[in-house]
Symmetry: C2
Subunit: 341 residues, 2 copies
């Protein structure tokens, strides 16, 4: 499965805009941000690393171009959304005690948790300041204020989702509907924001802006569910993670939540017993994988990802899109729900 062309279309400009957003900050505090974004190593030496797919800013620019006249005016918003996403990753690693991300030590693993908290919060604030650059592109002040509200409200939902996710860690009675509510907040809100923001800055009217928000939220759910599938059954050479890695980490991802909800009797007791252990060894991992196979949990999860993808695409009927825009968004939606990396 190939990466949709939209990623290549905007990549260089997104990268330039994010770099420019951080260019004027000189305190050593910001070295942690540049390190996290893959621009420098821990000693401050420049790297040619990649900072991930830049999914959210790509979606933002695609939505803007699909509905408006070009996309340059949305670049500050795309960069701001990417910064909010990265703020959440820095704090996430602190909260989850994760020492590695994208094959590199996490910020806290190098600078310690107190400073990593500062790095994440600073990234969050730089995002808002970056959004103020919309004025340089002639975006009207009323729209700028609307964009600030949208970014902040989406960020708050993301934090609410993170709150729920952490509160699920100690529980074995999380249901699928609760899980979907959580990822709707933690992942759906910011992806929804990306598409809504793009539509807003593309000059779309209120009904289209709302359709793009819903398009984004559904895409976000499809994306996260596919991520959960890859976290268990993904091929290591493509995802960078060994098979079953989310099970070893005892993450309450969708297939596990589904299994906990659907199993009864002995099977459920086995599963609960394994998830109460401190560590999940090879034998326990194989047991869980067998159990998921018996429940067809992978197919069930994939069907749900496809259903959300379908809902996302249905939202496009509300907007009169050009064939190019329609096709690009479809390509993106199908990729997010079916990717293997």
């Amino acid at each position: 499965m190939e990466l949709p062309s939209a990623f290549d279309r905007y990549r260089a400009e997104i990268d330039a805009e994010v770099r420019s957003a951080l260019a004027t900050y000189t305190s050593p505090l910001y070295a942690m941000l540049r390190y996290h974004l893959g621009w420098i190593d821990a000693q401050g030496r420049p790297l040619n690393g990649s900072a991930g797919k830049a999914l959210r800013p790509t979606l933002c620019l695609l939505a803007c171009e699909a509905l408006g006249d070009g996309y340059a005016q949305a670049l500050p918003a795309a960069a701001a959304i990417e910064l909010v996403h990265n703020f959440s990753l820095i704090h996430d690693d602190v909260q989850d005690d994760d020492r590695e991300r994208r094959h590199r030590p996490t910020v806290w693993a190098i600078w310690g948790k107190p400073q990593a908290i500062n790095a994440g919060t600073a990234m969050r604030v730089v995002a808002n300041l970056t959004l103020l650059r919309l004025g340089e592109h002639g975006v009207p002040v009323e729209v700028q204020l609307e964009a600030q509200r949208l970014l902040d409200e989406s960020c708050l939902r993301l934090i609410e989702g993170q709150y729920l996710d952490i509160s699920f860690e100690e529980r074995l009675d999380v249901g699928v509907s609760e899980y979907l509510q959580m990822i709707g907040l933690k992942t759906g809100a910011l992806i929804g924001c990306a598409l809504e923001m793009g539509a807003l800055l593309g000059g779309a009217g209120a009904p289209t802006v709302e359709a793009f928000r819903n398009l984004g939220r559904n895409l976000g759910l499809a994306f996260q569910i596919r991520d959960d599938i890859l976290g268990i059954w993904g091929e290591q050479e493509k995802t960078g993670k060994p098979v079953g890695s989310d099970i070893r980490r005892k993450k309450k991802s969708l297939p596990i939540v589904y299994a906990l909800e659907r199993t009864q009797g002995e099977a459920r007791a086995t599963l609960v017993d394994i998830y109460r252990r401190d560590e999940i060894d090879d034998g326990a991992l194989a047991t869980v994988l067998d159990l998921l196979d018996g429940l067809r949990a992978r197919d069930e999860a994939q069907a749900l990802a496809c259903a959300y993808c379908g809902r996302a695409l249905a939202e496009m009927d509300h907007a009169a899109l050009s064939p190019w825009a329609q096709q690009s968004l479809e390509e993106m939606a199908n990729f997010l729900a079916q990717r293997d990396f």
Copy 2:
């Protein structure tokens, strides 16, 4: 020393505005914010507690009223600044491992550090959303955007200061000038923001807005230095902390930084030795207090607090203030530099 009347003048309205800013949020995430603000206990039961002096919002409203026609339009900004201050306290407690604040367990001591990080960041985002309420008071959109920029830039300086403060922990060679730079960021920036924001929303012209920013920054330095003095020599019944508490916690507050910079030979070796220990016992505490006495460190620090207070008051010459405004600001400045609680 009595609390200046400005605190009483605005207290009820500040409290109502901050409560209203949080009123619509229902996720259990926000219980942590309400707990931190002293409104509820850990079980969610209402409290009649006080959430501190509300210094920053009081200064914001005082600046607005001193320069404009009333202060109602500045209430959302005052509340936003108080929320930013409280975001920094929640994260500060996580970063410093402090289990108690204002005689109550800190947020992380109850809910754990991962959730306390969420609580702090959520408080930070709610601050920006609260600032958007300026529109309900008829504040022009351009001024609203300026206010957003001011709040975010001040918050970023606060985080830069917190970064420096943490980086000082491992060092015994921090000089007084570095220390002053740090508190200028960590404490001065947000107090400067409070006065600048009040002036901006009071409709003052650019030179007066700038004078009030400088007034605020100098007040912030005076306030922090006095805080450092009280952290060592304050009376327990007034400050709630035992004598020498900042020494026991090995905080690099001004008197200690001053002593480390001024002592040589045997005295410096003694001081360095004590500050390298894991714990500071009664004997070591007495030694440090004697050493500070010998250097007249308390008087030197107080002289510096008074000097910054004087600089703050000098900034008022740039604005044509009414006698009431002049007197209220003087009363506030003198209180901050000389208070004993």
